[in-house]
Each structure stands twice: as C-alpha cells, then as structure tokens.
C-alpha cells in the first residue's frame, strides 16, 4: 500500500508536462477573463449590472468586495494583466499564479453575472491547485532561464500535482456522465440531444452542418446521447489503463472538438481540457522522446551558432539558448576558439563574427544578427511564442536595427569593467 501511494503521488518524475499545462491554463484564463475588461462599465465598475454567487462565496466576502471603489477595480485589472502575463511566460511562476488566482476570485465575487459559469468553477479549482507548487515554472519559462539550469527540462518533482490533475479531469468526465443518468438527469429516459438540436436560435446550440439533419432524428440523437454518457463514464478506466490510455486521450480530444463545433461552450473546453488530457502522457516517455531527438540531432548536422566568447552578455545569451534548446538542435561555437573560421563558412571572418551573432544552417547558409535569432525561434520550442512577432510584416526591417543596437552595446551589459566604455566592440 505504501509503495503504491509512493508510486502514485510521491515519486519524483519530470515536471515538463506541468510546464506545458501552465501555458494552457494561462491561455484559458486569459481568453475567458480578458474580454470582460473591454467594457468595464458593464462588467465590474459601479455602473454594471451585477449578480452574486452566495453558494461559492461567503456573504462577508461578497459584502467586502462590493465596497470596492472603481479605482480598485481598475487596479485589479492591471494587476491581473501583469500577473497573467508573468504566469504565461513563467516569470516567478508560483507568485504570479497566486496573484492571478486572487484577481480571478476578486472579479468573480465582484460580478458573477459577467463571468460565472460552471466551467469557470472548474477553472478556479484548477487554478487553486496550480498555486500549490512552483513545479509548473520548471521549464518553458523565464524562471528556468533565470536559474540557468541546462537540465531544467528533465527536472524531477513529486508527481502528486500532475496526478491530482489527472484524477480531476477523469472524474469530472465520470461525474458528468453519472449526473446525466441519475440525479435529475434525463439522458436515458428522454432525448436531450434531440431537444438541443431543435433549440431556437437563442439557445446554446450552434448552427453547425448536421444540425437540421439531427433535428429530425430523435432515435439517432438518443443513441448518440447514450454513447456520450458511456464514453464519459468509461473515461477514468480508459485514461488510467495504460493499454487504453491513448484511445482515451484521442476520444477526449474528439469529444472537445465536437463540443466546441456544436455548442456555445466557453473556450476553456478547447484550451484547458485537452491540455489536461495530455497530462496522462507519462513524463518519462516525454523525456525519452526528447532524448531520442537530441541524439538524432547530435548525430546529424546541427545549426552552428557563432558567438563572441569574450563577451559576458553573449556567453549568458548562449547559455540561455542552450537551456531553451530542448531538442539539441544548436551547436555553439565561440569564434575565438575556432582555428579557421573559413572552414566553418567561406564568408566568415573574425571581423564579421565579432560584429554580431551568426548562424550557419544545415545547408551551409550563413545568417547574422536578427535573422540568425529568427532561425533559432523556429528551432527552439520556448521561442515559438515569438514567431508571430519576428515574422510579422516589417519585422525584417525593424528587427535588425534593434538587434544591431543591442549587439553594439553588448559589452556594456553585465558590468564588464574592462569594457566599460564599450572599447571591446569593433
């Protein structure tokens, strides 16, 4: 029993899954809450129409929050945005998670009408559980860059948090199915899907392709409903059994895609739940897969990054690139230690290498500065978020100017005394 408990909750396993899940939680929270900030006068300020949720909050807490002046509401909006962004990029992950969750509670107490749904309650449970540890900041985060840990991607942590998220999603499916056939649910005794398909335009059903067809098929709707309930009830067994786990994850994905295509359900269904299903992938398998990719890349030709090893700013930047280089796709070369730069690339000279960072692609193409960084963004998963920015129209004009300014003053960064007047730059 003790060993089973140890294996289920206490054993240390890589936290890379939680790091990925952090991004999904941030996206879900942001897509849900941020739209309500665009019309504050109708959502949270004193001019808004408000309802309260006394079953979720205590009356004292509701009364206290209702005393908020509008200035405090606006402050909370900015605090949420800051905390949310920090949480998204993984800067002080745990602290930003706590602050963000606190703001979520505040807005929920302020006006249930603007945001309260059952899915929001599910998100709140998820957020509270996320606040418990900083494990989600171990990778895909600014925190791992701050710590400078090259092995951050395979850092092992107690598995309990990921396990609780697994149990949460599996049992939410189970209970959802159970309520549909017991309690006051009518999925076995009636044809709820058939009714949904016949709802008027004011209802929750979207005008999807097969709606009119299904609206005329009561028996088919009934059996689809029974199938949905059966899948929901079976989900814990499918997901926790290693043999059926993959099918369970695929079924869950299909379920959520169909849900978002057919019903007006919050985007949380699309961003949070599928990501939570991915937490069932064994983190050891993920690390093995990463290790295989790293081995493959090591054996084949990698993109060479030519940098200035005498510049501490460059050394730190290269170290950060190494941390972000999950698949080992880059090979770092200090041009000072290279015997002959021409061997690396015929156009590469010491002067050229000194001016800015360069990248030599697998096919021998030489790029420098901003364009070398842009190539890195394609290879490093942690920089994927920057892709829309570095490939935005006009970025090829503005990017090199910004990059050049940083490269020119790179000796001034990191307090290099010997180069305090930037004399090292040539």
């Amino acid at each position: 029993m003790g060993k089973l408990w140890e294996r289920l909750f206490l054993a240390e396993r890589p936290s890379i899954g939680m790091a990925f899940f952090r991004i999904a939680v941030a996206v879900s929270t942001g897509t849900y809450l941020i739209p309500t900030f665009f019309s504050l006068d109708r959502t949270y300020l004193s001019t808004a129409f408000k309802t309260y949720n006394p079953s979720f909050f205590t009356t004292d807490a509701l009364a206290l929050v209702q005393k908020s002046p509008d200035g405090l509401v606006v402050f909370a909006v900015w605090l949420f945005c800051l905390a949310w962004f920090c949480f998204l990029i993984g800067l002080f992950s745990q602290l930003s998670c706590i602050l963000m969750t606190f703001c979520c509670y505040y807005f929920y107490a302020l006006n249930n009408f603007a945001m309260g749904t059952l899915t929001w309650d599910i998100l709140m449970v998820t957020l509270v559980l996320m606040c418990v540890t900083p494990y989600h900041g171990d990778y895909f985060s600014v925190d791992c860059l701050r710590r400078g840990d090259r092995e951050a991607y395979r850092r092992a942590r107690p598995f309990f948090q990921q396990r609780l998220f697994q149990l949460q999603i599996a049992f939410i499916y189970f209970y959802t199915g159970l309520y549909k056939i017991t309690a006051e649910g009518n999925w076995l005794t009636d044809k709820p899907l058939y009714y949904l398909m016949n709802y008027p335009v004011q209802g929750v059903t979207k005008n999807f392709l097969l709606k009119d067809f299904l609206a005329g098929q009561p028996q088919l709707c009934y059996w689809i409903g029974v199938l949905i309930v059966a899948v929901e009830l079976a989900m814990p067994f499918l997901l926790f059994n290693p043999r059926t786990r993959r099918s369970g994850i695929y079924l869950g994905f299909l379920f959520h895609i169909l849900l978002i295509l057919t019903l007006d359900v919050p985007a949380i269904f699309f961003f949070l739940f599928p990501a939570q299903l991915l937490l069932f992938i064994d983190p050891e398998d993920v690390i093995r897969w990463v290790a295989d990719k790293r081995d493959n890349n090591r054996r084949s030709r990698r993109m060479k990054i030519i940098y200035d090893g005498h510049c501490r700013f460059c050394q730190a930047s290269v170290k950060q690139l190494e941390i972000m280089d999950l698949f080992g796709a880059l090979e770092m070369v200090d041009f000072h230690s290279a015997d002959d730069l021409k061997q690396l690339h015929p156009q590469l000279t010491k002067e050229l290498a000194h001016s800015q960072l360069h990248a030599i692609d697998w096919d021998g193409e030489l790029t420098g500065g901003f364009f070398a960084f842009r190539r890195c963004c394609l290879l490093l998963p942690m920089l994927y978020l920057l892709l829309p920015i570095v490939y935005f129209p006009g970025a090829a004009l503005l990017g090199p100017v910004i990059y050049k300014a940083i490269a020119k003053n790179r000796y001034l960064f990191h307090g290099n005394r010997a180069c305090k007047d930037n004399v090292c730059y040539r």
Partner: protein, 152 residues
C-alpha cells in the same frame, strides 16, 4: 528527513484534496437526499451542485426578451447590446446569461442599468418567452410580461 516531512505534507494535502473533491462532486445530488439534510458546501471552491454540464435538457425552452419603449412604441433590444462582452469562441447570451434579469429581486438594479446604458428609451419591458415544446410546436411562443421598469 527533509524529504520525509515533505512527503507527509504532500500526503495530507492529497487526502484532503481528494476528499473535498469527491465530497463536493456528490454532496448535492447524492449525499443530501440519502442523509435527508442540507450538508455544508465548501466555500471558495467547487460549483454549487457538482459537475452538472448539460445533465438535464428538456423539450421546453425559455429565454428573456427585453423591450425598450420610445414614445409609447416598444421595440426589442438585441441582448448582445445589453451585455456587450464578446467572449472568445462562444456567445454568453446563448448560454442564457440574461436570465438573471428575469429575477424580480434584481429588478431595480437591472432597470437602473438599462436606463443608464439606453437613455434613448423612455421605459423598458422585461418579458419571458416560453416555448413549451421545441420539437412539437417550435413556433408556439408564449410571451409573459415579467416587469416594467417605469420612467426615468
């Protein structure tokens, strides 16, 4: 030693969390009917009655319809103009959020809100539209007046 203490804390947390999760999942619809009494809800966490997404859908359908009155002539107000929050990927109006306006308990607040945001109207009628059977008689709309706000 440090690891052992950590594991004790984790174990306590896991047990408490799982108990709370399953308690709240079954409290309202299973435990309360069996025990025949109201049980305390854990505040600040969990929905009021478990994970009841679409657990009951009936043939009957109702929604609020709100009218603004100009010079004695009522006209329907698009509910999207009333809420004006555009969520990503879904429409909160179609999830019945405006049903809160039907509550007489919120009448005063809602009327004040409507007068503030729609000064062009002299008055507002809040009505509930009920369709007793969406499958058998989808166009049999029964419109019931719920309340009238009164002048500004």
């Amino acid at each position: 030693m440090k690891k052992r203490i950590r594991n004790i804390f984790i174990s306590i947390f896991v047990v408490v969390w799982l108990c709370a999760f399953h308690y709240e999942s079954i409290r309202y619809f299973y435990l309360e009917p069996v025990l025949g009494q109201r049980l305390p809800k854990i505040k600040f966490l969990f929905p009021p009655a478990g994970w009841i997404m679409f657990y009951r859908v009936d043939d009957q359908f109702a929604y609020p319809e709100i009218y603004g009155v100009i010079k004695g002539a009522p006209q329907v107000i698009d509910p999207h103009d009333i809420i004006r929050t555009r969520f990503i990927g879904f429409d909160n109006i179609r999830r019945g959020i405006l049903g809160a306006a039907l509550s007489g308990y919120r009448r005063q607040d809602f009327c004040r809100y409507m007068h503030r945001n729609f000064p062009v109207f002299d008055d507002f009628y809040v009505t509930a539209v009920n369709i007793p059977s969406v499958t058998k008689a989808p166009y049999d709309r029964q419109q019931i007046p719920v309340y009238q706000c009164g002048g500004k």
